[in-house]
Symmetry: C2
Subunit: 341 residues, 2 copies
C-alpha cells in the first residue's frame, strides 16, 4: 500500500508512462476506454503525483518561506496569520522558520530557503541582525532574484519590497495624546533600542516634545538590556522625576510596567498613564486595560503576502515599493480623557 507512481500504473496496464500521465490528466490524446480504466485504477489506489517531481520540472514550489524572529510574540503571530490567510487563498503554502532573534540562525535559514525550497520569502529581521547590521545574506537572495518582502524590521540597504509600520508617527501620536490629556512628563521604556522600529518611535516622541516646547531629557528614556532588572530601572526612573506618563515600546514591557507601577502604589491612569505598543490580548485583559498602539499585524501580513505573490507571478521588473501602515491608538483605561473634550 505504499506510494504509487506512474511507472507502476504503466506496468499494470502494460502501457507507457507518458500514456498514464496523459490519461490521468484527462488528455484527449488517450482513448476514452483506456482513460477510464486508468483513472479508476488511479483513484482506487489513491494516486497522487509526487510534488517534488512536479516542482523540479516546473521550477516552482508554490510555497512561501516566512521567517519571524519569535513566534511567541503576538504581533508576529498576527502577521503570520495574515500571511497564511492570503497565501491559502491564492494557493500557496507556507514554510515557516523562526530565527529566534539570532543572526546565525537567520543566515542558515535563508541559505536553506534559497536552495529552491520556496518561490519567495517574507521576513522580519532578527534583533541581532539589526544590531550587527550585516545584510549580506539578504543581498544573496536579491542577487539570485528570489522575490523578497521585508516587514516591520527592515533595512534600507536591501533592495526589495517592504511593509513597515509608521513608527515615527506612532511615537509622535501617542506622545501627543499623553500631552493632550494633561500629562507633562512623558517617559519611554524600550527593550528594542537596537531596532529601527524602536528608534523611530523615540524620534517621533522627541518631535512631539519639541513641538510642545518640552525639552528632551535622555534620562526619561529607559533603554532595557536583556539582563536588566525592569523593576529596578522603573524605581530609578520614578525617583528621578515625577513621571506622569509612560510609553512602553512592546506589549510585554507595557504589561510589566503596569504591574510594577501598580505595585508601587501609583494609580493608573490618575497618577501615571501608560500606553503600550502592540494591541494584543494581554493589553485588553490586564487591569486597567491598556490603551495601546495597534500595528494592524494581520493587515501587515496580508499586505506582505499580496505584494510577494504579485512579485512572484508578475515578471515585469517594476520598482520596489515600501508600504507604510499607519498605526491607530486603541483607547482603554490606562490613559485619561483629553482635556478638550
Amino acid at each position: 500500500m505504499k506510494k504509487i507512481t506512474l511507472k507502476k500504473i504503466a506496468q499494470v496496464f502494460n502501457v507507457s508512462v507518458s500514456t498514464v500521465s496523459k490519461a490521468i490528466n484527462d488528455s484527449h490524446e488517450i482513448s476514452d476506454d483506456l482513460k477510464g480504466k486508468i483513472q479508476q485504477y488511479a483513484k482506487e489506489n489513491k494516486y497522487r503525483p509526487n510534488k517534488l517531481a512536479l516542482n523540479l520540472r516546473q521550477k516552482k514550489t508554490k510555497t512561501i518561506g516566512v521567517v519571524v524572529p519569535n513566534i511567541l510574540n503576538y504581533f508576529f503571530t498576527q502577521v503570520f496569520s495574515g500571511i497564511e490567510k492570503v497565501a491559502n487563498e491564492k494557493g500557496y503554502n507556507l514554510l515557516s522558520c523562526i530565527s529566534d532573534e539570532s543572526y546565525d540562525k537567520e543566515v542558515k535559514t535563508l541559505e536553506f530557503l534559497g536552495g529552491n525550497t520556496v518561490d519567495g520569502i517574507i521576513i522580519s529581521m532578527a534583533e541581532e541582525t539589526q544590531f550587527k547590521n550585516k545584510m549580506d545574506h539578504f543581498q544573496n537572495l536579491v542577487d539570485e532574484r528570489i522575490p523578497l518582502v521585508m516587514f516591520d524590521r527592515v533595512s534600507n540597504e536591501v533592495a526589495c519590497d517592504k511593509v513597515v509600520v509608521d513608527d515615527y508617527e506612532a511615537g509622535y501620536k501617542t506622545t501627543n495624546y499623553f500631552l493632550s490629556t494633561g500629562c507633562s512628563t512623558v517617559a519611554v521604556v524600550t527593550a528594542i533600542d537596537h531596532s529601527s522600529v524602536g528608534r523611530l518611535r523615540v524620534e517621533g516622541y522627541k518631535k512631539a516634545l519639541d513641538e510642545a516646547n518640552i525639552p528632551y531629557d535622555d534620562k526619561l528614556v529607559v533603554r532595557l538590556d536583556k539582563k536588566d532588572d525592569l523593576e529596578l530601572r522603573i524605581s530609578f526612573l520614578l525617583n528621578y522625576k515625577k513621571v506622569d506618563a509612560i510609553m512602553a515600546l512592546d506589549e510585554m514591557t507595557a504589561v510589566e510596567v503596569l504591574r510594577i507601577v501598580k505595585n508601587k502604589g501609583y494609580k493608573v491612569p490618575e497618577d501615571i498613564s501608560i500606553i503600550g505598543f502592540t494591541n494584543g490580548k494581554l493589553s485588553r485583559y490586564v487591569t486597567p486595560a491598556l490603551t495601546s498602539v495597534s500595528q494592524h499585524g494581520t493587515y501587515i501580513g496580508e499586505a506582505a503576502a499580496n505584494i510577494l505573490i504579485e512579485r512572484m507571478e508578475d515578471n515585469s521588473n517594476r520598482d520596489f515599493s515600501t508600504l507604510t501602515i499607519k498605526t491607530s491608538l486603541v483607547m482603554r483605561d490606562s490613559t485619561k480623557k483629553r482635556l478638550d473634550q
Copy 2:
C-alpha cells in the same frame, strides 16, 4: 547572476556534469588540480545544490509538516515553538499549516502534505474534525506509511504515535483543589465540549465530585456555542445556584469569566474562585492572576518532534505509543489557600 547549476559549471570547464558533482563533493575520484578550480568557481558563484533535485533523488525532504488548528492560541504556539526547537536541532525544517478548526481545510492540507512534501507530520485535529468524527484523511496517511504524530486532540481510530495531556486527571485535580480550599459548588465553563480534551476534563471533574459525595448537576456545566453570549450564560449560572468556584476549560474563557464575574461585583477568590486551563501570559497578568492548569505546551511539542523523528529515521516497525503528559496546577491569586495548610 541567476541560479547556477552543475550543468553550467560543466560547460565552463568543458567537463561532464558528474565530474563537477564529484569535484564539489570533494570526491577522491577527481584530481586535486581540477577539484581546486571547480570548487573555487563554485564558491565564487555561490553554487548551492537545488534542494528539489536532491529531495527527489534521496526521496526525503528533511522537513516536517505541522498542522495546528489555530496559531493565535497560546497553547498551540507553545507546542509549535517546542517542535521547532528540536526539529532545528536535528536538522529538520518545518512546513506549517493552519487548519482554522475546519475539517475541509484539514483534509486539503493533509493531501498536500501527503504528496511527498514532507517526511512526517505532527498534527492536532481541527474542532470540526472531532465533531464530525471523520478520520479517513488520517487513515490515508497511515496507509501510505507516512509517519504521523497526533498531539492533544487525538483519535483512537487512528493508528499512530500520540502525545496527549492527562486531561482526565487535570479535571480531577483542579476540582479537588477547589474542594480542598473550602469551595462546595464547583461549576465548569467549556467552549470545547466537542473535543475529547474537553470531555475528559469534565469526566475528571465528575470523578472528584463523586469521591466527595457531591451529586453531579449538569446545570453546573455551561457548554458554550460559538454564538453564545458568555455574559448571559454566566448570569443564568450564578442565578441558578450560589456557585463558589469555576473551572474554565480554556484560557480565553477563563479570562472572560474572570472579567464578567468581577463586573458583577463578586470578589475573586473570596466569593468565587477561578481556575483556567492553559497557562499563558494572559493568566499571569490578569488581575487577580489566574491559578492555571499548565499543559506544558513546549514540552509536548518537543516530545512530539522527538517521537516523530525517531519514527522517521528508525525503520524498525515498533508499536505505536501514546505519551501522556501530566498537567500541573500553577497557583496564583484567583483561588484560596487550602484549608489544611
